[in-house]
């Protein structure tokens, strides 16, 4: 692998950048691999990378129907945090957070992980209770977190309307200072380049159409370019997981919904951190390019169209203007949608399936990006050993039968 550095950049500038190498090869698929990863998004590429790097399994293919990092990796609002309530989630996301913290150096690719802090605003007394509960759990789990009062919030977040006469006055916030944002495309490309360098075949423009089974055991995938054999197959296809499960002959507790996001035109820095509010339903950060990156809510219906309905955009912008009235005259540039695979407990499924040797990693819903390295890391370990990594084990499909849900939804339940 050609190493990247400031000096390298200078050297290449002397030859007018005519000698840069390809970031990854365009290989022809082999007949059989040790492991096939279906889905070349961030999670799939990370899985391939860690299989090769940490488990020495390099006879690996990532099969992607479109282009690398072209699904939710390319469409999310890039927030990274690990301040989850339940132990199982907190440990998984914190595992990811630790990997994020050295990822650019590990991959020799600047993923621009920027620990600007993630704030969750509290507007009601129940918000405060829930926040204390979460921050307290985070602290005892070794995850950083603070609960701020209204004055601290006003001091730390300029232009946030902290006055008492708003519809839902802000009465506090939690902050995870190690949280932040990263450059989404770079994450996919960084993992892809590093995986390729370790020998992983990245096979783009190849759709997986089904799974071949022998005696009920998965032995490979049928693709638009023919059959490819594999000892183990890991499916990491986010919004399309339900569809892939159907191809494999079972169902998942997953529904795919549109999730929308939008950006403003680029403006000079005004929002320095990530600010989220569940009560007014909006969250915002500002990219290094200057765009305000704004996340909208999930649409209520199932949808694979990578677009949602306009009222969701309206509500989100209303929320942003309510939080930051000074942004009213700033303009929205572009909106888009992703397909999020939601589970009943808002936690992922990292699991064996009814088909031996076929593993699924899905159900990340609206929160997958932040887990990318951690998800890939534990899934790689599970695929390598054929047994689920301890951090992944609680996220088995079985929990929807036994009742052992990890209810990140319920933890935010509001009723009085």
């Amino acid at each position: 692998m050609q190493r990247y550095s400031g000096f390298g950049l200078f050297k290449h500038s002397l030859s007018h950048h005519e000698n840069w190498q390809k970031m990854w090869r365009t290989p022809t698929p082999k007949k059989v691999y040790d492991v096939i990863i279906v889905g070349g998004g961030g999670h799939g590429l990370a899985t391939a990378y860690y299989l090769a790097k940490e488990h020495g399994i390099t006879n690996v293919a990532v099969v992607e129907k479109g282009w690398l990092g072209g699904g939710n990796t390319a469409r999310n609002t890039t927030i990274v945090r690990s301040n989850y309530l339940w132990d199982e989630s907190a440990h998984l996301y914190e595992h990811a957070m630790k990997l994020w913290e050295g990822l650019s150096q590990d991959l020799n690719y600047n993923v621009m992980f920027s620990q600007r802090g993630v704030y969750n605003l509290c507007h009601t007394l129940q918000d405060i209770r829930d926040s204390e509960r979460r921050v307290s759990a985070n602290r005892l789990n070794g995850v950083d977190g603070e609960l701020l009062d209204a004055k601290q919030v006003a001091d730390e977040i300029p232009y946030l309307d902290c006055s008492k006469n708003t519809r839902y006055p802000i009465i506090g916030a939690t902050v995870q200072r190690r949280g932040g944002v990263a450059r989404h495309d770079a994450v996919a490309w960084g993992f892809a380049r590093a995986a390729d360098a370790l020998g992983v075949d990245l096979i783009q423009q190849t759709e997986v159409l089904g799974f071949r089974k022998e005696n009920g055991v998965c032995i490979g995938v049928e693709t638009s370019k023919g059959f490819i054999g594999a000892k183990r197959v890991g499916v990491v296809t986010a919004g399309n997981s339900g569809h892939m499960a159907r191809q494999a002959g079972f169902r998942l507790p997953i529904e795919s919904h549109p999730l929308q996001a939008l950006v403003s035109e680029p403006i000079k820095p005004i929002i320095d951190s990530v600010i989220m509010s569940n009560a007014v339903h909006g969250y915002i950060s500002q990219s290094d390019k200057g765009d305000l990156v704004i996340g909208a809510g999930i649409d209520g219906y199932n949808g694979y169209g990578q677009r949602g309905s306009y009222p969701v955009i309206e509500h989100t912008i209303q929320a942003i203007v309510e939080m930051f009235p000074v942004l009213s005259r700033v303009r929205m540039n572009r909106q888009w949608g992703g397909i999020v695979d939601t589970t009943p407990d808002a936690c992922p499924i990292i699991s064996k399936t009814p088909v031996p040797n076929l593993f699924f990693n899905c159900g990340w819903g609206t929160g997958g990006f932040k887990a990318t390295p951690g998800s890939g890391n534990v899934f790689a370990a599970s695929l390598a050993k054929g047994e689920m990594h301890p951090l992944a084990a609680p996220f088995s499909i079985d929990r929807f039968h036994s009742g052992a849900l990890i209810d990140e939804h319920g933890a935010a339940a509001v009723a009085h």
Partner: protein, 1005 residues
């Protein structure tokens, strides 16, 4: 000198109305009817900004929505700042203040420009991915400077003084674009009687006819436009929206239009007027007449001010009477661009030469130019230009198309304007918002709309129909089709005649070669706003980015505020060539709303500030305010939280309120609780299925508490339901759960058990509910009611009807505080009068209003739960120690029964609700705090539960809490610990959750 570049006559500006404006601190003059860009050009302003990455000087390049450079900061005051306004789309008004968005100390002498020159080479696409990585901790520092340098304009730092709103429309035909095709379509559709909306982004209707040389029926084309507008204005079913950009084409023919009502009038909207409005349109049929957008050729130093789109030059000359130069060189690959040469001559300026990449052009406009003696260099193109802050020359050379190389050294021509035209791209954005992939047409070298399920018709330029006569006909036919598909009978119409001129095909040239090769040639910009060069695109493909989305993302091509309107096709062509594939094989990226940027405030509409979301009040709100209540948000309701007196804080007030209730009597507004009237012969059976406990034996006149679970066995609401008659019940729900519970009942009745005869009607708003609670509540109530309150006559958990304060009331004897309590329900219209009478009578009992906080404390002292505070969607009734409320022998498998018997729900060591008593009675356990058995263990600790409710100030005299603890019910008497953020540890004893009056004597006093 003022307006140095204004032509002595011509244009659609009103020269009698002189407007003064300011750019970068200097005052200039323009005319009414000018765009800001036109006025700047009229004053000879060259450099209007600095480029994003290399800080190169940039000038006005285009005349419309595609402008990449002239992106300015507008606003005369801090509160009215608008970032990133395209000068080409901003009408000039008196007093307009504009500044450049980049450049220090100013745009003409920018320090960053030097850095750009030196460092530019170090900034190939993606350079930031390849560097700034070491040492790890430095990224945030690097990033700080990157962020400062990025961004265009700035946000205001004061609140917007303007208002915005929406308007919803439903029409038969929405016509997008009021150029020739759109207007013809509008005529056809409107004459049929259909409801028609015509929206156009420009200041006035006419589209390409606003600066056209062409005539219709022998008269200037704009005369026809005037007649059409006049006719349309007369029709009541037609809505005309100029200054209104259709920005998004959403599912099921829902489109959004961004109308700018006052942006042409001044810095802010005149008092009482709305600045901008979003029209939300549902159209039976949509006619897309969005036209085509000229694209430039890509050549060396094509960004130096004085390089302009050919069509834009015509616009400035003909529409605004402005000549952005004197000596022009035109570089083209098509016929249509020759009109700029003719316009330029007509304006009395000099055409130095036309470089035509075609070998033998013979179209009508070409011949007209030839006839005027214009020098035409065939098989040639402008290879590069020179000039630092303005073009001083262009090198024209012969090019070999097959090898895409330079065939001759060419010659440097002196000029101050290089007009460029690389053909036309149909404006397919809206047509593609729903994912319909545009199709490449080799004959017109452009993408046209692909197949899509939407009910729409595309007419004119968007279809690649460019001739004026053809475009009118196409538009009219499209209008007829749209109207008839929407159910209207079209009326015949005669269209004006346009001259049919011979027009030859455009040549497939996008990227003009340079003898040094792309990587070493002077920068050839593809996307001017994002400083994306041809070399960058080639580099991206060299590095393995083969998908168009990859190329775009790696180079930032098309990611600007212009969304790549000029550069996308050129970028595709360069990438395709570099990868040795065709343009259609390369494909296009997705088009997403918005077509042009939309003000956040406009999208938010009126839903801001005090009407951001509904606020719900009870009938007694005015009284609460008079009593000085502090309010708590509960769902959409504002509920009195506590009633401070004489400057009390929350704790003092709550302590006093608690004591008043325990000692005498208090009054609570309980109107917000959900109330559902249930009638029907199967009402009882329905309750049996929906509640966890049994309802078969509840007699008329009695009430019972019930828990509701979802199918998973987890508690999701609770409340008291009373039997009013054999087939008649009234259910109460939590405040926040009211709507949810009604939905819950409906979905099961309508979809699961339609055979059960039962109806549900919300009566939450109908009744106001006042709760009198405390040992003196009976005495007090007896003074204002005719109901027999004797404890035998009116026992606990029953209800009675009678007069309270002279008003018919239904009174429930139920208690949430543990004290003797009466809930008085009154038709809400009369509640205030009744309250006043109770308050008057209550004076002698120190009747004390109390809020939600005191209510929470008092119920917690009794161990009563609050769903949503003591539960979180993962608690079964048994977890709450409420197994007494579970009908284990009910015949029907009620909602929740199966779920709560799943493997994980019946295991040992589930978290169970218990009381917690801090060992130090003064210590308060924060609500939400996590609990451990061993506070000395290392992190990560094993957490065993958390505090759900906790009250230091109460009627007990010591701090207490409720919480959930693993296996807690078997651990009564044991200790738990709560490690705090400051390192301290609070120790608490696990106790019964009933702290007060465990036998329940007081409610029966």
């Amino acid at each position: 000198m003022s307006q140095t570049h204004r032509l002595p006559n011509g244009g659609r500006v009103d020269r009698s109305k002189v407007l003064t404006f300011t750019f970068n601190g200097q005052q200039y003059k323009g005319y009414e009817g000018d765009s800001l860009a036109a006025a700047l050009l009229a004053n000879g302003v060259d450099v209007i900004g600095r480029s994003f990455k290399y800080s190169r000087p940039r000038g006005i390049y285009a005349a419309g929505a595609e402008e990449p450079n002239a992106v300015l900061q507008i606003g005369a005051t801090e509160a009215t700042q608008i970032p990133n306004v395209r000068a080409t789309q901003q009408a000039l008004y008196q007093g307009l203040v504009a500044t450049s968005t980049n450049g220090w100390p100013n745009v003409n002498n920018d320090v960053m420009g030097i850095l750009g020159k030196v460092g530019g080479k170090l900034m190939p696409p993606g350079f930031y991915y390849k560097t700034f990585m070491y040492p790890q901790s430095f990224w945030m520092t690097y990033e700080k400077y990157i962020r400062k340098a990025a961004g265009l304009g700035r946000s205001p730092t004061q609140n917007d003084p303007d208002t915005y709103d929406y308007m919803n429309h439903h029409c038969d035909v929405l016509i997008v674009g009021a150029g020739p095709a759109g207007l013809a379509a509008a005529l056809a559709a409107a004459r049929s009687g259909a409801r028609v909306i015509v929206a156009d982004e420009q200041e006035e209707f006419g589209g390409s006819l606003l600066d056209s040389r062409e005539s219709l029926d022998g008269k200037p084309a704009m005369e026809w436009v005037g007649k059409v507008i006049a006719e349309l204005k007369e029709l009541p079913s037609v809505t005309l929206l100029p200054r209104a950009t259709v920005n998004g084409y959403h599912d099921h023919n829902f489109l959004t239009i961004h109308e700018r009502l006052t942006d042409h009038l001044g810095d802010r909207a005149p008092i009482g007027q709305v600045r901008q409005r979003i029209h939300r349109v549902r159209a039976k049929r949509v006619v897309l007449a969005t036209g085509a957008c000229e694209r430039p050729l890509v050549y060396g130093n094509n960004d130096v001010p004085g390089n302009m789109l050919a069509g834009a030059v015509s616009t400035y000359v003909r529409r605004y009477g402005v000549a952005p130069g004197k000596k022009m060189v035109l570089s083209t690959n098509n016929d249509h661009a020759y009109r700029v040469a003719l316009d330029w001559l007509d304006a009395g300026q000099q055409v130095v030469a036309v470089a035509d990449a075609r070998s033998n052009p013979r179209g009508a406009l070409v011949e007209a130019a030839r006839a005027k003696g214009i020098r035409i260099l065939t098989s040639s193109a402008v290879i590069e230009t020179r000039g630092s802050k303005h073009v001083t020359g262009a090198r024209v050379a012969a090019i070999d198309l097959k090898s895409l190389s330079v065939a001759s050294p060419g010659e440097w021509l002196e000029c101050d304007l290089v007009a460029t035209s690389g053909g036309y791209s149909p404006v397919v954005h809206l047509a593609s918002h729903l994912g319909g992939k545009p199709t490449w047409r080799e004959d017109i070298l452009g993408f046209v709309p692909g197949e899509a399920p939407q009910k729409r018709v595309c007419v004119g330029g968007i279809n690649g129909v460019y001739g004026l006569g053809d475009s009118l006909a196409d538009g009219f036919e499209g209008g007829v089709r749209a109207a008839s598909e929407a159910g209207f009978k079209a009326v015949e119409g005669v269209l004006p005649k346009a001259l049919n001129q011979l027009q030859e095909a455009t040549l497939a040239l996008f990227h003009v070669p340079h003898e040094k090769g792309t990587a070493r040639a002077p920068k050839q910009f593809v996307d001017l706003q994002n400083d994306v060069t041809a070399a960058a695109i080639e580099l991206a493909t060299r590095e393995g980015f083969e998908s168009v989305e990859h190329v775009k993302r790696y180079t930032a091509l098309g990611f600007g505020t212009d969304q790549g309107k000029l550069g996308n096709v050129n970028g595709l062509a360069i990438a395709a060539r570099s990868l040795n594939v065709t343009i259609p094989q390369m494909g296009t990226t997705m088009f997403r709303p918005n077509y042009t940027p939309v003000t956040f405030g406009a999208v938010a509409g009126r839903h801001c500030g005090h009407i951001f979301e509904p606020v719900r009040y009870t009938a007694l709100q005015a009284w609460h305010v008079k009593q000085g209540a502090e309010f708590e948000d509960v769902g959409q309701w504002k509920r009195p939280w506590y009633f401070p007196r004489n400057g009390e804080d929350l704790h003092a007030a709550v302590k006093r309120e608690c004591q008043a209730v325990r000692d005498s009597v208090g009054i609570l507004d309980a109107s917000t609780l959900g109330k559902i009237d249930i009638q029907g012969p199967d009402a009882r059976e329905f309750l049996n299925r929906i509640y966890t406990n049994a309802w078969t034996k509840l007699d008329v006149g009695k009430a019972r508490y019930g828990l509701m679970c979802k199918e998973d066995g987890m508690v999701f609401d609770d409340g008291v339901t009373a039997c009013l008659a054999d087939n008649h019940f009234v259910m109460t729900t939590t405040t926040g759960g009211a709507a949810r519970v009604l939905q819950w009942l409906e979905i099961y009745q309508q979809t699961e058990w339609p055979e059960l005869k039962v109806y549900f009607t919300s009566v939450t708003d109908h009744y106001a509910t006042m709760t009198l609670s405390g040992p003196n509540s009976r005495k007090l109530l007896s003074e204002v009611t005719d109901i027999d309150l004797d404890r035998e006559a009116f026992p606990f958990m029953t209800w009675k009807e009678g007069l309270v304060g002279g008003v018919p009331a239904r009174v429930f004897r139920i208690s949430f505080t543990g004290e003797l309590s009466y809930e008085v329900n009154i038709q809400a219209d009369y509640a205030m009068g009744v309250l006043e009478k109770i308050v008057e009578a209550g004076k002698q009992y120190n009747l004390t209003p109390y809020g939600t906080e005191t209510m929470h404390v008092l119920r917690a002292e009794k161990g009563f739960i609050i769903v949503g505070q003591d539960t979180d969607g993962s608690m079964t009734p048994d977890d709450l120690n409420m197994g007494w409320c579970v009908g284990r022998t009910k015949p029907f498998s009620w909602l929740g029964w199966r779920g709560m018997n799943r493997e994980d729900c019946v295991r040992d060591q589930r978290k169970q609700l218990v009381g917690l008593k801090p060992v130090d009675p003064k210590q308060w356990l924060p609500e939400g705090a996590q609990l451990v058995f061993d506070p000395k263990q290392a992190i990560p600790m094993t957490m065993v539960g958390h505090v759900t409710s906790s009250y230091a100030h109460n009627s007990l005299g010591y701090s207490f809490a409720m919480g959930v603890v693993k296996g807690g019910l078997k651990r009564i008497g044991e200790r738990v610990f709560s490690p705090q953020a400051d390192g301290s540890v609070i120790e608490a004893e696990i106790v019964s959750s009933v702290f007060f009056d465990p036998k329940g004597d007081r409610q029966n006093i």
